[in-house]
Amino acid sequence: MQILINQRPIHCTSHDTLDSVLNVFAQGSGVDINDIAVAADNTVIPRSQWATYALTANASFSVFVAVAGG
């Protein structure tokens, strides 16, 4: 199955969760998993739901890093 993260295709299996996919994505992007947020359908997915969030084929996620400067 394929999903999209920031418009880039990512391959995953039925065993993957949003949590596991984001871990791989964060490592590959050199960002700390603790510093990111993720949204689908213009809605932020709370971190506590990452582990149980069901991935469906062609789902599109927007991943971004927390911004705290000012």
Partner: protein
């Protein structure tokens, strides 16, 4: 009735259906607390005072340094070494002598946030670090004071408004911590990662517009919606922030009884 001078001064705002003459009076009575006196505040504060907000409380213990000058344009080389809140208060008084501007040379923390926020109609998070952002959110939610949080780093800007009475499992809106349940102090700050000045300006402008809309009672304020601008990709989003049932700030206590429950203010991890 507004004076002829005020009518002239605010004529472009009075034309707006959102404001009108009544709006000018509403803004004159508004009390706004600004946490942080860096790049965001140097944009937000002049817009609010310029628009006629009657009272601003500026909170920061930082002094003006040469590395602030590219983007914190209320400060000039002559101010280096001076207390930011005092310089800013003087600049704001020059812009609008009728405004009351209180300069509090303190960093916001667990020991003073209750006092800093007392009497506020609105709190603006213009701070520069995640620890302070989490604290400001927790205290604003507990006190039931509306919050507008804005931030910038690199080529990124983000901002969102939060209304405590709408947040949590009963309200269907998330708070700042529902968005970022982060306690790490080094998450995205300008000192470690740099920032392009105009990104702070854009975040501050969006924050100022939200603040004025809230104070004027706009029924269409995008509560708990994260505005994010990524200038590296030219991308721009408005994302709904859902309540996280496990949020340590808004998840387990409803707003109506929050004020009687001091344990809802997290003291750990800060």
């Amino acid at each position: 009735m507004l004076s002829d001078h005020d009518f002239l001064r605010y004529s472009r705002q009075i034309m707006l259906p959102l404001c009108g003459e009544l709006g000018i009076k509403t803004l004159a009575k508004a009390r706004v607390v600004v946490i942080g006196a860096g790049g965001l505040a140097t944009v937000v504060a002049p817009y609010l005072v310029g628009a006629g907000v009657g009272y601003l409380r500026l909170c920061d213990d930082d002094i003006v340094s040469v590395s602030n000058l590219p983007r914190q344009w209320l400060y000039s080389p002559a101010h280096i070494g001076q207390q930011k809140v005092r310089v800013m208060a003087a600049q704001l008084k020059a812009l609008q002598p009728a405004a009351q501007v209180e300069a509090i040379p303190e960093y916001a923390d667990n020991s003073n946030l209750c006092r800093l926020m007392s009497g506020a109609d609105l709190v603006l998070d213009c701070s520069d670090n995640m620890t302070t952002r989490q604290l400001v959110n927790a205290y604003a939610m507990d006190a039931g004071v509306a919050l507008v949080s804005a931030a910038a780093i690199g080529l990124h800007a983000q901002a969102a408004a939060f209304q405590p009475s709408l947040c949590g499992p009963h309200g269907n809106h998330g708070c700042y911590r529902c968005l970022y349940p982060i306690d790490s102090q080094r998450a995205g700050n300008c000192q470690s990662e740099g920032v392009l000045g105009p990104m702070v300006g854009m975040a501050g402008c969006y924050q100022a517009a939200l603040a004025l809309r809230i104070l004027l009672g706009d029924p269409n304020v995008p509560w708990s919606q994260l505005w994010r601008l990524d200038s590296t990709l030219g991308e721009h989003q408005l994302l709904r922030i859902q309540p996280d049932p496990s949020c340590s700030v808004c998840g387990h206590v409803s707003h109506s009884n929050a004020s009687s429950d001091d344990s809802s203010i997290p003291n750990s991890g800060v």
